[in-house]
Symmetry: C2
Subunit: 338 residues, 2 copies
DNA sequence: AAACACGCTGGAAACGATACCGGAAACGCG
DNA sequence: CGCGTTTCCGGTATCGTTTCCAGCGTGTTT
């Protein structure tokens, strides 16, 4: 055990100021019913002692903390940083503080239980409400103050922020088609992710719209990693009749496609066009720079904060599903079909 | 007031399992002295009820939470995100959870008091220890479990992580000198930052080493923003005898220099060489790509976590100041002097 | 057979803060 | 002067958890 930190409490303040704890508390919270001189005296002591109320104790007693929680699965993938930037921007001058929680425990892998546990953790008084990013099982207590961003699984009963994944995928296919491509490969996203499914559906809808018949052989399974992009590329390009373009369900996967293409000696975009989805910062640093569908991840974070605050202040709209538009970002990884 | 969230407590668990709260608590914490069948029964109930202990109550009672705190001033500037990535990487599988705290209140601007307040907030039981990024007044309780990263002001009495700012600046000047530059402008960093001072000193030391006389007219004040880089460039380049290279105290400022150069119709690097400091991701996307001194911000974050955990587990070394090496990253913004 | 140890359990006191209630002055008014 | 109000303050219960201590059956020892 470590040495106990002689943390100073409201009792110390009260004693030093010669008042009761109740009075000290009243001063702390700027409540009425305290004489000016008492107020000044206690304030002085608070300053002198460098006293700050324990968030733990405070939030245990009174159920409101002015703190918002953000639950992210990890802190390495840039995607989450983009969300955090959006949240950070929205929190500025909102009057709320922000608590981002992530777990370093190996148990984190059991995503579903991890989420359940930590949502409870945050909403058990520490925060007034909380935003969950990419929850795998978006089923929560009805009355909890929760907003989810990009949930796995549709039809959550809490306010959700999602990108127009379906339309975005159509935009991607449209673009490739406009460049003359007819055989377009697709690398799927994580099978449990609703966004992945929507993108796949959009891919099919885009083909249909262009009068191109869907071909199962051009579709590979995936899980949003770059590894699956690589594997898919090897698989697709070694077919007898390989595609002239590959649409990856997200940028991370598209980066894997780019790597594989290079290893296979294929020039992008001359020999193979590649398009991604998300518009993460790295896409500007790949060679060639990746053409992609932007889903304004930041905007999703900001919107999440606004929705949560609205809900907390009872200004909530009846609408549960909130969408952020996607749009095509043309860079250098797509070219006319030869 | 909002509707009370019917949050379920350990009492509910105890009642449902037909045991006392003490026993329920023992099961929760995997303490000894509880019969296997009781254990199983209680575990079952915990699962069924989706119960999670309130962090607030827990940390109030027992002084150890297995949570580390990270205090950042804001969440927009990429610099902090790099730190967070490093921290995030180090926290993985460390067995600790992470709580990042930032404030959205306008009072945040009163940095010193904000820090004092929030350090107390976090260390008042919520976390086992905490890491503070860029604290302006690194004077804390002696026995608090605190680690600081890139503190303003030298000689903190808590473990600190800093880059070799002095050496890094020398490296920058060395490089410019090796390209034939003799008149090298300098845009200073924020005056209260120790790192800024060190870089300035390094700049002077580098000149001295090369036998170049220091010239006050070539130095501009700054504050780490891009705006000051712009202003400084206008000022420097409109002098009768302008410098052939500008060394900015950080990348953000260097980006301002780049912008101003473009506005002035100066070609970088042909007409003007520019070098920054930090190596933030944006430096790869500027035109031309910015040559800079890398200070491995991520590594600083990771090291911070390791130091904190060491301290918590009493494996602390006597050394207080920990440095991370800087090194030159050559890209496209510097060229031989004409 | 008495005494003792031991495994398991429940009761109650804390942790630090706030909310509620009630009491003591001070003051105004008939 | 008595009485009701107002102003200010202190006491106490309470939030959900852990920890300490005591109790109670059994099994083991002398």
């Amino acid at each position: 055990m470590r040495s106990k930190q002689s943390t100073i409490t409201i009792h110390d303040v009260a004693k030093a100021a010669g008042v009761s704890v109740s009075t000290a508390s009243r001063v702390l919270n700027n409540k009425a019913d305290v004489s000016p001189e008492t107020y000044k005296k206690v304030r002085q002591v608070i300053d002198d002692l460098n006293y700050t109320a324990s968030l733990a104790a405070k939030s245990m007693r009174s159920r409101t903390t002015n703190v918002l929680g953000l639950l992210v699965p990890e802190l390495i993938e840039v995607y989450y940083h983009e969300v955090i930037k959006g949240v950070g921007a929205a929190i500025e001058n909102s009057g709320y503080d922000l608590l981002i929680y992530t777990s370093g425990s190996p148990t984190r892998n059991k995503r579903a239980s991890w989420e359940r546990e930590h949502v409870a953790l945050l909403s058990s008084g520490l925060t007034d409400g909380c935003i969950i990013v990419s929850p795998s099982a978006p089923t929560f207590q009805q009355n909890a103050n929760i907003v989810v961003i990009d949930p796995h699984g549709a039809g959550a009963e809490v306010p959700s922020v999602v990108a127009t994944n379906h339309e975005g995928a159509i935009q991607a296919v449209d673009y490739l088609v406009s460049l003359g491509h007819r055989r377009i490969g697709f690398v799927q996203g994580h099978p449990t992710a609703w966004s992945a499914l929507q993108r796949f559906e959009g891919y099919k809808a885009g083909l249909h719209k262009a009068g191109i018949e869907f071909e199962a052989a051009l579709v590979c399974e995936g899980d949003f990693t770059s590894a699956c992009g690589k594997a898919a590329t090897y698989h697709l390009m070694n077919q007898p009749n390989p595609p002239s373009a590959i649409f990856a369900a997200n940028d991370r996967t598209a980066i894997g496609v780019l790597e594989a293409a290079q290893e296979l000696g294929l020039n992008v975009p001359q020999d193979l066009s590649v398009i991604g989805f998300d518009n993460i910062p790295e896409t500007m640093q790949t060679t060639p720079r990746l053409t992609t569908i932007d889903q304004s991840i930041r905007e999703m974070g900001s919107l999440g904060v606004r929705l949560l605050i609205d809900r907390l202040q009872n200004r909530e709209s009846a609408q549960l599903l909130h969408t952020v538009p996607t749009h095509l970002v043309v860079r250098d990884s797509c070219w006319m079909r030869k």
